[in-house]
Symmetry: none
C-alpha cells in the first residue's frame, strides 16, 4: 500500500464527486480510478478495478450505500469502505456499524479530517466522525429507557396476574408458585388461565414468549 491509493467515488451528485476528486488528488490522498452514481453501478465495476478504498455515499437512488457496502464486503471482505453521509434524522446510524464499512465521515468534514480518515482506514483501522459517534450513542441511549417503560399491556393485567406471570417467566411450575404465594395450586392455575386468555396464548410457553416479546418481564 506504499504506492498511490486507488479510490472509487460512489455518489449520485456529480458536483460532489468532482469536488471530492479534486480535493483528494490535489492533497495527494490518492487517485480516483473510477466514479459511480449509485450502488449498482459501483458493484459492477468492483471486480475489474480492484480499488484500495471506496468513498461511498449513503443516500442514493436504485441502491444505497448501506446495501452496496454489505454486498461489496461479501464479495471482497478485505475491501476498505469509508461511508460519507449527511447528519440528518432520517437515518438509522447504528446500522452503519454492522455494514462492514471501516468508517464513516460526515459530508461537512474538512479536508484535514478527511485525509486523516482515509489514512486511518487504509492502515486497516476504523474511523468514525466524532459527531456521528455521538449521535449513534445518543440514539442508542434513548432507545433503552423507552423500552424500560411499562408497555400498554401492563394495564391489562391485575397485580396477582403480573406476580404469577413473573414467576412463570422464571420457569417456575404452578405448584412452585402456589407454594411461594401461599395459595392453592388451583388458584394459581386460574390466574395463569386468565393470563392465557388475555394474552391470547395457547399455553404457558406462548405466554412467556408473549411477555418477553412485549417486554413485560426482564430476562
Amino acid at each position: 500500500m506504499s504506492s498511490t491509493t486507488k479510490i472509487i467515488l460512489v455518489d449520485d451528485h456529480l458536483l460532489f464527486r468532482e469536488g471530492m476528486k479534486l480535493l483528494i488528488e490535489t492533497e495527494g490522498m490518492g487517485v480516483v480510478i473510477a466514479e459511480a452514481s449509485n450502488g449498482k453501478v459501483f458493484l459492477d465495476m468492483l471486480e475489474p478495478l480492484d480499488p484500495d478504498l471506496v468513498l461511498m455515499d449513503i443516500e442514493m437512488p436504485d441502491m444505497g450505500g448501506i446495501e452496496a457496502t454489505e454486498k461489496a464486503i461479501a464479495l471482497k471482505p478485505a475491501l476498505k469502505i469509508l461511508l460519507v453521509t449527511m447528519l440528518d434524522t432520517s437515518n438509522d446510524y447504528a446500522k452503519l456499524i454492522n455494514t462492514g464499512a471501516m468508517g464513516c465521515v460526515l459530508k461537512s468534514v474538512g479536508k484535514q479530517e478527511l485525509e486523516n480518515a482515509i489514512k486511518t482506514v487504509i492502515k486497516g483501522e476504523s474511523y468514525f466522525s466524532n459527531e456521528l459517534l455521538r449521535k449513534i450513542i445518543l440514539d442508542f441511549g434513548k432507545q433503552k429507557p423507552a423500552s424500560n417503560e411499562t408497555p400498554d399491556f401492563a394495564n391489562e393485567f391485575t397485580e396477582r396476574e403480573i406476580e404469577v406471570l413473573n414467576f412463570l417467566c422464571e420457569g417456575l411450575s404452578v405448584a412452585e408458585i402456589a407454594k411461594k404465594i401461599n395459595r392453592s395450586v388451583k388458584t394459581v392455575e386460574a390466574h395463569r388461565a386468565k393470563l392465557l386468555q388475555k394474552s391470547e396464548a395457547r399455553n404457558t410457553v406462548n405466554l412467556v414468549l408473549f411477555a418477553i416479546k412485549n417486554k413485560l418481564v426482564k430476562i
Copy 2:
C-alpha cells in the same frame, strides 16, 4: 445554576480526589462540597447535600459507579452525573449509556476537556469522550456479528433436537410438532426430554428460556 456549581467527587483513590479538587477549584469549574470513597458512602450523602454535579469513578470497592449512578438517578432523576473512567478492556462500556449518567470522560483527559465536559453536562446536554465513544461503537460493532454465530451449546444438540427446540420456542405443542415433522407424539416427547436433560431444564418453559438466554434461537 448561575451560582457556583456544587460538585461531589466519588473515587476510591484519595490522591485522585485531591488532584481533581485542586484542578476544579483553581480552574473555577465549581466547588467540591464533598468527597466519597465508594458508591455507598456517596448515596448516603446525596440527600442532605443536593449537589449540582457528581464526578463518579466506575471501578470502586463495595459499590461501583455504575450501580451508584443508577440508584442516584432513581432517587434524583435530574441529577447530573459525569462518569470518570480508565479505558481498559474489563468494562462493558455500552452499559454506561443506560445508567442515566449525562456523560463519561476518561481519566486521561486534560483540564480543557474536563472543563468542557462539566460545562456541557451542567447545561443539561450529554458529554462522552471521543475515545470512549469510539470504543463503545467498536464493541457494539463486534458484538452483533458474534451474536449471530452459533454458540457453543449448539454442538451439544443433534439436528432433530435443534429442530424440535426451534418449534418449541415458537410456542408449538408437542402434538403440533409431531404433525409437522410426521412423527409420533411420543418421539417428539423423547426429543424434548433429551433437550430438557442436556440443558438441565425442569420443564419446557425453562428450556425455552435457556434457548433464548443462550441465543440458540431468534425471537
